[in-house]
Amino acid sequence: MTGMSLRLGCLYPEIMSTYGDRGNVETVLRRCEWRGIRVAVTELRLGDRVRPEELDLIMIGGGGESQQRLVASDLWKVKGAGIRDAVAQGAAALAVGGGYELFGRFCQAGEGAELRGVGVFDSWTIRKGAASGDQYRTLEDERADRAIGELVVRWEGTLLVGFENHSGGTYLGATARPLGQVLAGHGNNGDGTEGIILGGAIGTNLRGPCLPKNPALADYLIGAALRRRLGETVLTPLEDGLEQAAHAVAVQRARSARRAERARLARTVLRYPGRGSRMSTTLRRGHSRPSVRR
C-alpha cells in the first residue's frame, strides 16, 4: 500500500472536540500509518476556506450549544459550499454529535435563534428545551431532557457501539438514509434509527469516541476516502484484538444496562399498573430511558 496518501480536513479542532473526539482523528491517523498510508492533515479553523478538490476526508467533532453557536455561521457562510462540493465529489466525512447536527439543514437551539446548518445531510435537529423557550434552571432539569447512555446500532451486519449524550432530536428527510438501527439507546429521535449515511459521509450521535472501538467504521471511512482518487482499493487487515475486546465490553455494558432498566420498569409496572402501558410503549420503541420527558 505504499505510496498511497489521504488528505484529511479537521474542522475546528479546538472548538468542536468534546468527549474525546480527537480520538477519532487519532484512529484514522494510526490505522493509516500502520498500513503505510500517508495522511496530510489540514486544520480548518474559523475563517479558513475549504477547497473541495483537496480533501478526501472531512471530520468534525461534537460540541455543546455555545460551541455550535460559535462555529455555525462560519460553517455555512465560509465553508458550506466547499464541504457540500467535496461530499458531492465523493469525499468521505464523519460528523459527530454537535457536528452532525450542524451538517443538517438547521438546528434549533435551546435558546436564541435557530442555527443554520451546512445542508450536507437532509436532516434537522429540534432541541427539547427549545419548546419551553427558557433556560434550564438546574442540572437535574437539563439531565432529565437528555438522552445519556450506551448506544448500540446495527450497521451493515455488524454492531456499532458508543455513548450518546444529546438533548436534540434529529429527524431525517424523506430521501435520507439512516446509518443503522438502534438496538440499545435512543439514537436520532427515539424512532429506532441512528445517524445518517450519504455515500462516504456519515453523521452520528455515537461518541466514546466512535472510531477506536468500531474499527469497521474507521476502515469504511478510510476506504471511502481513498476510493475518491484511487478507485477501488483493498485495505490490509489489521490486528484488532484490543479493539474487539473493547467493543465486546461496550455491547455487554449496554445489555446489562438494558436488563437493569427492564427490571426497574417491571417493578414500576407492578407497583403502579396504570403507568404500565405508556412505559412499555417507550421500551418497545427502543428507549432505554423512559424518564425522558416529552
Binding site: 468534546t18 468527549y19 484512529t27 460551541q67 442540572l139 461518541r207 484490543l242
Partner: protein
C-alpha cells in the same frame, strides 16, 4: 475592614450568626411551643443521624459519609443551616473541578497551626448529605454543635452542589474556586454549564464574602466580575515550567467577556496560564498571592517560593506536580484572606497525602502509591507528576464506568498519553473498561501494535494489583493511577489485608490523641 472583623486572629470569636432561629418565631403566643417542637425535631434528627453513622461503622459498611446526613435532613431539613450557623468562626467553602480536596487538606493544616480547629468534610462526601453528616458528627445529642470557640468550618463542595450548599451556608467568609475543567460531561455537560452555575451562585452571596480565585484560569478569574465582593487572586508567576505552545489536554476556553480566541504568553497546563484577549483587551488579573519560583523535585515533592503582600516564604511541599503547587497556592491565598499569621503557612510542609492522592502504602516490600484520577486533566497531571522525571516506572492503570454517576469514559482520549510514551513497560490495566484503556494506549503508542501488545488486561482490581506487584522488580515502587471504583475496591482489599487503615479510623485516632493532649494540658 470586613475581613478584619472576620479575621481568625486570637480572641475574635464574635462571629456567631443568629439566623438559625429565624424560621421559628411566628407569633409571640406560639413561639414557645414552636421552639420546643423545632428543637425536639432537631434533637431527633441529629440523634438519628448519629445512630446511623455509628451503626454503619460498626457494621463495617464503609465510613457512612452520606446516609446519616440524608436521614438527618429527611427528619429536619433546617439542621444543616442551623448547625453551620453555630460555628463560631464562620466557614470557608472550597470548590472547583480539581484539587478542592487537597486544597482543603493543606488549608486545614495551616488553620490548625494558627490554633483553630477546622470542621472538615475532606473525605469524599462533598455534597449536601455529606456536609450534614459532618455537622452531625460534630454536634452533641442536644442537637447543637459542641462548644469550641476555635472551631471554623472548612468545606470541600462539589461544584454542582454549590448552589444548594450556599442556601445552607448563608454567610461564608470566603469561597475558593480552584479551576473549571471538563469534568464528568455526562453529569455536568460542558464547562460552560458549571461556569454559569457558579456565576449564578456567587451572585447570591452576601457582599462581604471574599472570592478567592485562580487568576490563571480564564473561566474562574472573570466569574461574576461585576460583583463588588472583595476578590483575591492567586496565580503562578514563574514561567520556567511553562509549556511550549498549547497543551493538548486543553479545551481552549474563549474570552469570558467577548468570546474571542485567547492568546497565552505562557501555558502551565491545560488552559491555565498567562492569558489575554487581543480582541477586547481583557487580561489575566494580577495575582496578590503568587508562586514566584517553582521547582519540581521529583515524583514526590515540590519546592515553592510563595509571595503574598506581606510575606515571602519558601515551602517544601511534600506533594508532586504542578497541580499540587496550585493547590498549595489556593490554600495560602485562602489563609491570607483569613489573616492567619504568615508563619503558619509553613504547616503545609507537614501535610500528608490524602487518601488516594498519591497515598503511599507499604505492600510486601514495595512502595505502592495510590492516585485517584477522575477526569482528563486530573489523569494527565498525575501521570506527568509521576513520569515527569522521564524514568521508566511500573504502573497499574484503572478505568471504570460508573452507571448513574460517570457512565462515559470517552475523556481518556483527552488524556495526554501521547507525550509520555516509552516510560511504562508492560502496563497492567484494571477495571471494567480496561479494554478501552488498552485501545487508548495502543493508539497513543504505549503498546506494540503487532500481535504482542505487551499489556496485561485484568478487569478485577485485586487480581490486577497482584499481577502488577508480581511484575514489579524488588525494591521498585508501583504506581496505581485509576478512577474511583477500581481504587476503592483495591483499598478495601488492602485494608482487609491489614496494609492500610480506614480513613475514619485514622481520624478517630487523631481525635482521641488530641483529646488526650487537651486533658493533659488542662491538668
Amino acid at each position: 475592614m470586613q475581613s478584619k472583623q472576620r479575621g481568625w486572629g486570637p480572641g475574635n470569636g464574635s462571629l456567631r450568626s443568629t439566623h438559625s432561629g429565624e424560621h421559628m418565631t411566628i407569633s409571640p403566643g406560639r413561639s414557645a411551643r414552636m421552639t420546643f417542637t423545632a428543637s425536639a425535631r432537631r434533637v431527633l434528627a441529629v440523634s438519628a443521624g448519629k445512630a446511623a453513622r455509628t451503626g454503619i461503622r460498626r457494621l463495617g459498611r464503609g465510613n457512612g459519609t452520606a446516609i446519616p446526613g440524608l436521614l438527618t435532613m429527611a427528619i429536619d431539613p433546617s439542621v444543616l443551616a442551623g448547625l453551620i450557623a453555630e460555628i463560631p468562626r464562620g466557614c470557608v467553602l472550597v470548590t472547583g473541578s480539581n484539587g478542592k480536596g487537597t486544597t482543603c487538606r493543606l488549608l486545614a493544616q495551616v488553620m490548625r497551626d494558627a490554633g483553630l480547629r477546622p470542621v472538615l468534610n475532606t473525605e469524599g462526601s462533598n455534597q449536601r448529605s455529606g456536609l450534614a453528616t459532618t455537622m452531625v458528627a460534630h454536634s452533641a445529642v442536644t442537637g447543637h454543635l459542641r462548644r469550641d470557640a476555635q472551631s471554623i468550618g472548612l468545606f470541600e463542595v462539589d461544584e454542582g452542589s454549590l448552589p444548594e450548599i450556599v442556601r445552607h451556608v448563608g454567610n461564608p467568609s470566603a469561597v475558593v474556586i480552584t479551576n473549571i475543567f471538563r469534568d464528568q460531561l455526562d453529569r455536568y455537560f460542558e464547562p460552560a454549564y458549571i461556569k454559569a452555575l457558579l456565576e449564578r451562585t456567587l451572585r447570591r452571596l452576601p457582599a462581604d464574602t471574599t472570592l478567592v480565585l485562580n487568576a490563571d484560569d480564564p473561566r474562574v478569574a472573570n466569574l461574576a466580575s461585576d460583583l463588588r465582593n472583595p476578590r483575591l487572586y492567586f496565580g503562578m508567576e514563574d514561567t520556567e515550567l511553562g509549556r511550549d505552545g498549547a497543551d493538548p489536554t486543553s479545551d481552549f476556553p474563549r474570552c469570558p467577556r467577548c468570546r474571542s480566541e485567547l492568546v497565552y504568553s505562557c501555558v502551565f497546563y491545560a488552559h491555565l496560564g498567562h492569558w489575554a484577549c487581543t480582541s477586547c483587551g481583557l487580561t489575566r488579573p494580577e495575582p496578590q498571592v503568587k508562586i514566584s519560583k517553582i521547582e519540581l523535585v521529583g515524583p514526590s515533592s515540590t519546592r515553592l517560593q510563595v509571595v503574598t503582600e506581606a510575606a515571602d516564604t519558601v515551602l517544601e511541599l511534600p506533594l508532586p506536580g504542578l497541580y499540587n503547587a496550585y493547590n498549595a497556592l489556593a490554600a495560602v491565598a485562602a489563609a491570607t484572606q483569613s489573616q492567619l499569621p504568615d508563619r503558619c503557612v509553613s504547616a503545609i510542609e507537614r501535610v500528608t497525602a490524602g487518601s488516594y492522592r498519591m497515598e503511599r502504602i507499604e505492600v510486601a516490600g514495595h512502595e505502592v502509591y495510590l492516585a485517584l484520577a477522575k477526569n482528563a486533566n486530573g489523569y494527565t497531571e498525575v501521570l506527568r507528576a509521576v513520569l515527569g522525571d522521564r524514568q521508566p516506572k511500573r504502573m497499574l492503570l484503572g478505568l471504570n464506568d460508573n452507571p448513574g454517576k460517570q457512565p462515559d469514559t470517552s475523556w481518556i482520549w483527552d488524556v495526554d498519553f501521547d507525550g509520555l510514551t516509552g516510560l511504562v513497560p508492560a502496563p497492567v490495566l484494571a477495571g471494567n473498561r480496561a479494554a478501552d484503556l488498552a485501545v487508548r494506549l495502543k493508539y497513543a503508542g504505549w503498546l506494540g501494535a503487532g500481535d504482542d501488545p505487551q499489556v496485561v488486561i485484568e478487569p478485577d482490581p485485586v487480581r490486577a494489583f497482584q499481577a502488577a506487584l508480581a511484575a514489579t522488580p524488588a525494591g521498585q515502587p508501583l504506581w496505581v493511577v485509576s478512577t474511583s471504583v477500581v481504587l476503592y475496591a483495591l483499598r478495601r482489599w488492602l485494608r482487609q489485608q491489614g496494609y492500610v487503615r480506614e480513613l475514619w479510623q485514622e481520624q478517630r485516632q487523631l481525635e482521641r490523641a488530641r483529646r488526650r493532649r487537651k486533658v493533659g494540658a488542662s491538668r
